[in-house]
């Protein structure tokens, strides 16, 4: 990898991150705002114990506007809803996943439109 990959920033440059996806998710599922990062969801998650997928971490990345890992891993969720049952803050995590997928799809569509326009 060394020398081949494009040098990516090791820090979260918050102000440079695009907030379109997270803004959409927060608007559609405002309960995500109340997450206190206890990790209960990740701990019970059926998918996360088998494949690289940590829903608590993805939701945190999402809120910072750090999407690359989210885009790669969000499809590993099996929508079983176990996380939502345990969440002490009542975050509708399953719906957060659905809305995130939707927002990613929308952003990819609009990217495609932009390319066509050029």
């Amino acid at each position: 990898m060394w020398g081949y990959s494009i040098a990516k920033s090791q820090s979260i440059v918050y102000d440079q991150n695009d907030r379109t996806i997270i803004n959409y998710v927060l608007e559609q599922e405002p309960s995500l705002r109340t997450c206190m990062a206890c990790g209960g969801c990740t701990s019970t998650c059926s998918a996360g114990n088998l494949v690289p997928f940590n829903i608590r971490r993805l939701n945190t990345l999402l809120q910072r506007g750090e999407y690359s890992q989210v885009k790669k891993e969000i499809y590993n969720c099996m929508l079983c809803g176990k996380c939502t049952i345990v969440c002490p803050r009542g975050v509708n995590i399953r719906n957060v996943v659905l809305k995130t997928r939707e927002a990613i799809m929308n952003s990819e569509k609009s990217d495609a439109n932009d390319t066509n326009a050029i």
């Binding site: 206190m36 206890c38 990790g39 969801c41 990740t42 701990s43 114990n49 940590n54 002490p88 803050r89």
Partner: protein, 337 residues
């Protein structure tokens, strides 16, 4: 001489009785159990300084040994009516007493850990609550159900607090530092036992609490893991298997332990029948609410009815005692108007 009935003989009730008697009132201190002290009588040592709980309790009780205080033990307040001359209180022994003012000091109830089914409290013998750990420390017997010494004890923070699923959104305030206190006491008795605290946030709100937290890490080798345990299960060999996310690493974590201590939250006692008859207001957290959080903390919406201690919110003993004295003064101000 005005007569004040105090409901509940825990630290709040005892200390407000002592203060009211000193201010010149006649007091009935009504306690449903066989002795004064409330939850304090079940404790071993106290945070933050390791003071012996029995010693503090006996000093408190000594304050209340005054000629104007009538202590009524084994007596539960069942109901109360407000009338023109004050209050008529119905007791469990069928008797009634009348009073000019009422001070509610009924304390808290410990959250029933069995309600969080995922931890197996009441099913697995080595899953206990924080008050049961306090008893183990008091009797000096740390052994498990099978009589053997545990090799590893895990404290689980926020059980029944900060949890929408059980309807308690509030923080119970004292359980973080209680876990730290108990972990240290275990180490003092048996340094071989490994101790872990699984937390979401560590709340060290009082003087010397943060220092105690640091001492736990530095001197007593207590290990802190940031993540809420999502479930516990018993293995064939009787050990407990716990699951959590180690949120600072971002990976699910599995661990075996011999004993799991649930830091049970405090719940309100404001559902008492007498409070309902009198229509005493409660807040969203179901504890008694004040008419003004800043200026009239001990006053309720019902004239002549006051509150003190943990029946108003989770608090430690130091704050409970201060609050009890404040309640006595509020009653004095009420009668001095």
């Amino acid at each position: 001489m005005k007569h004040i009935a105090i409901i509940g003989g825990g630290p709040a009730g005892i200390e407000s009785a002592a203060s009211l008697a000193q201010l010149g009132y006649r007091v009935s201190l009504i306690e449903k159990s066989a002795e004064l002290g409330g939850h304090l009588s079940q404790m071993f040592t106290l945070f933050p300084d390791g003071r012996n709980a029995a010693e503090v309790l006996s000093e408190l009780i000594a304050h209340a040994r005054q000629k104007n205080i009538n202590v009524m033990l084994n007596t539960e307040v069942i109901d109360a009516q407000r009338n023109l001359s004050g209050f008529t209180i119905t007791l469990s022994n069928q008797k009634t007493v009348t009073a000019d003012a009422l001070l509610i000091a009924t304390g808290f109830r410990l959250f029933n850990v069995a309600r969080k089914e995922e931890y197996g409290y009441g099913i697995y013998k080595n899953v206990i609550n924080s008050l049961q750990m306090e008893k183990k420390l008091r009797t000096g017997d740390l052994t498990m159900a099978n009589g053997q010494m545990p090799k590893r004890v895990v404290f689980l923070h926020c059980v029944g607090s900060r949890d929408e699923k059980v309807g308690n959104n509030y923080c119970s305030k004292v359980c973080c530092v209680t876990a730290v206190k108990q972990a240290i006491e275990i180490k003092k008795m048996n340094p071989e036992i490994e101790t872990f605290c699984f937390y979401m946030d560590i709340r060290m709100f009082g003087p010397y609490y943060e220092e105690l937290y640091r001492e736990a890490q530095e001197k007593w080798k207590v290990v802190f893991v940031r993540g809420k345990i999502s479930e516990a299960a018993e293995n064939i060999d009787g050990r407990l298997q716990i699951k959590a996310e180690d949120t600072l690493i971002g990976k699910p974590l599995r661990m075996q332990c011999d004993m799991l201590v649930a830091m049970a939250g405090m719940e309100s006692t404001a559902d008492a029948k007498f409070a309902q008859t009198l229509n005493v207001a409660r807040g969203l957290n179901r504890f008694y609410s004040s008419t003004d959080n800043y200026l009239r903390y001990n006053n309720t919406n019902v004239e002549g009815v006051f509150t003190a201690g943990t029946c108003t919110a989770p608090m430690n003993i130091i704050d409970t005692i201060a609050n009890a004295r404040a309640a006595a003064l509020s009653i004095h101000q009420y009668f001095s108007k």
